[in-house]
């Protein structure tokens, strides 16, 4: 079964701004799903529609086979959402907030689980402080704890690691991996593409409200990611017209004394040899050669055409 099936969801805001245009994607149950896109792509709008803080203009969504818009309470009990904006109730301590949050999801108190969450998210020492006294990173971790306190089947994290330092981020991801291994589906947005590539087995990229691609991470990295052969010479290069024509098939890029040529998909031996020989013939033997494999960030930038 799928954790989420999003069908033709669109969102047009009151001011006429189209935030989402006919988005359809599927999040398999048990997957670790990365929802990526540049700022303003519509990721948060999509998450807010799932979380019920924004109404969709059209389309439908099913969560574990139940209609999200018609069976809200059933679905909400099975999902936990970490909103992007930090929010906290200034009147209460983290422990109280977690207890209230669990209760609001209709679950009986479970001090053991609350303790474990406080421990795992490194909030135990601060459990009795007023939330006003917590640092930005602690508040964000409290949001994560709050989303997990009713033991949801689907956890949605909208930029959960913004402003969280490297060490803590790593431990947070370890915890998410554990939950995922125990059967929880995890959907996240993040700007740390390296982490997304490492963690997630599924990926969707949206840009300007439209879905660019949605597939297993392996497929994206295998079929879409390409690699380049970079040859270094001992002096700056200048391609002649003839060089450009001969090497055109490998989209040559020159930076100072380096020439980079695109290999087909995951460069095979024959491909590598053809590219290398062609370059050697035109420009002579290089002093150094290396192969650069596109990572998720490169693919992302290429697909979204984001100049940054």
């Amino acid at each position: 079964m799928n954790a989420l099936e999003i069908n033709n969801v669109s969102k047009i805001y009151g001011n006429g701004k189209v935030a989402l245009q006919d988005i359809s994607l599927t999040v398999p149950e048990g997957s670790f799903f990365a929802l990526l896109g540049p700022n303003g792509a519509g990721k948060s709008t999509l998450i807010n529609i799932l979380a019920d803080t924004v109404n969709a203009s059209s389309g439908n969504v099913s969560l574990l086979g139940h209609d999200l818009f018609l069976e809200r309470a059933w679905c909400k009990r099975r999902m936990g959402v970490v909103p992007q904006e930090i929010a906290f109730d200034p009147f209460f301590s983290p422990r109280e907030i977690l207890k209230f949050s669990r209760g609001m999801y209709g679950e009986k108190a479970d001090d053991h689980w609350v303790d474990e969450l406080l421990e795992r998210l490194e909030l135990a020492e601060h459990a009795h402080k007023v939330t006003r006294q917590l640092s930005g990173g602690m508040r964000r971790r409290l949001l994560v704890a709050q989303a997990l306190v009713h033991r949801p089947k689907l956890v949605i994290l909208d930029e959960p690691t913004a402003g969280v330092d490297v060490e803590l981020r790593k431990r947070l991801w370890d915890f998410m991996r554990e939950l995922n291994a125990a059967g929880t589906t995890i959907l996240l947005t993040t700007h740390y593409l390296e982490e997304a590539e490492e963690l997630c087995d599924q990926v969707a990229i949206i840009d300007q409200g439209k879905l660019i691609t949605s597939c297993p991470m392996k497929t994206l990295m295998g079929d879409v990611a390409s690699s380049s052969l970079c040859l270094s010479y001992d002096e700056p290069l200048q391609l002649s017209d003839e060089d450009t024509i001969v090497l055109a098939a490998f989209s040559p890029r020159v930076h100072d004394n380096q020439l980079c040529l695109t290999l087909n998909k995951q460069g095979t031996h024959s491909d590598f040899d053809a590219v290398y020989q062609a370059a050697k013939q035109q420009l002579g033997a290089p002093v150094d050669v290396n192969i650069r494999q596109e990572d998720l960030e490169d693919v992302f930038l290429r697909l979204t055409g984001d100049p940054s």
């Binding site: 803080t53 809200r72 309470a73 949050s101 609001m104 209709g106």
Partner: protein
């Protein structure tokens, strides 16, 4: 159809009532002090005078009105401040994300508003009663008006909180709508003393019926017809509660 989220509603009620219990000075002690100040000021301004037309001394007339006014203002404050703080701190998203339905949320918010009104009302009663020879003559009337008044004001607080974008908006609702209506509702004077024009205007002020009816429960007399007033108050209560429920349900000013 989903089962009623009993634990969720109870939890939200606890959250909403602990919030005001946590700041007792502001929510309970301050209103009691304000009421005592009013009492002292008017005691010396009015002396031993009787209230014209009602055959009751001014003190006995003033005290129930002051209690009810504080109850109404506190019921309004509880829901409106929770809503506006929630919106400004962005905490209301947790409520929207939770499986608490509109009806469950309204029940929890209004129950907490009624509780706060009755806590404040009881404190005032204990503080002010020794200054007078008032008695709880018709307890059922006191309860009826107390509960209906708190429900109306709690609902208005929710609606005002949903409408407001800033603390300033909220203060505007409070200062320009709620305060004038409560002050001009016959807490400090008998409406029968007003010129006929203002009497007819007053007939449209719902707060007048709430305060007059509540006072009736103590002094067995008042400016309005008890049966008519109860009907109007009951109808207004239902209207206010249903309006706040409906607006919550459609996510008015809460969801985009």
């Amino acid at each position: 159809m989903n089962r009623f989220n009993v634990i969720g509603t109870w939890t939200l009620f606890q959250r909403e009532s602990r919030r005001f219990l946590r700041v007792k000075m502001q929510t309970i002690v301050a209103p009691a002090l304000t009421a005592i100040l009013y009492l002292i000021v008017f005691r010396y301004a009015m002396g031993e005078r009787q209230v014209p037309g009602l055959d009751v001394d001014y003190f006995s007339f003033l005290i129930p009105g002051l209690i009810m006014m504080a109850m109404l203002q506190n019921a309004f404050a509880n829901t409106s401040s929770s809503m506006i703080v929630g919106k400004i701190m962005n905490v209301h998203v947790f409520l929207l994300m939770s499986p608490i339905s509109a009806a469950e949320a309204i029940i929890a918010f209004l129950a907490a508003a009624v509780l706060r009104a009755f806590v404040v009302g009881s404190v005032l009663l204990l503080v002010l009663l020794p200054f007078s020879d008032l008695a709880l003559t018709h307890v059922w009337m006191i309860l009826f008006y107390g509960i209906c008044g708190s429900l109306i004001m709690g609902s208005l607080g929710l609606i005002g909180g949903m409408w407001s974008k800033t603390f300033d908006d909220m203060a505007m609702v409070n200062n320009f709508i709620i305060m004038p209506l409560t002050f001009l509702s016959g807490v400090f004077y008998s409406v029968s003393q007003l010129p006929p024009f203002w009497q007819s205007i007053n007939a449209w002020n719902p707060f007048f019926y709430l305060i007059d009816g509540f006072r009736h429960g103590f002094i067995s007399t008042g400016d309005s017809d008890p049966l008519q007033a109860m009907g109007a108050v009951a109808a207004l209560t239902i209207l206010a509660v249903i309006s706040s429920w409906y607006l919550w349900r459609i996510g008015w000013k809460l969801k985009e």
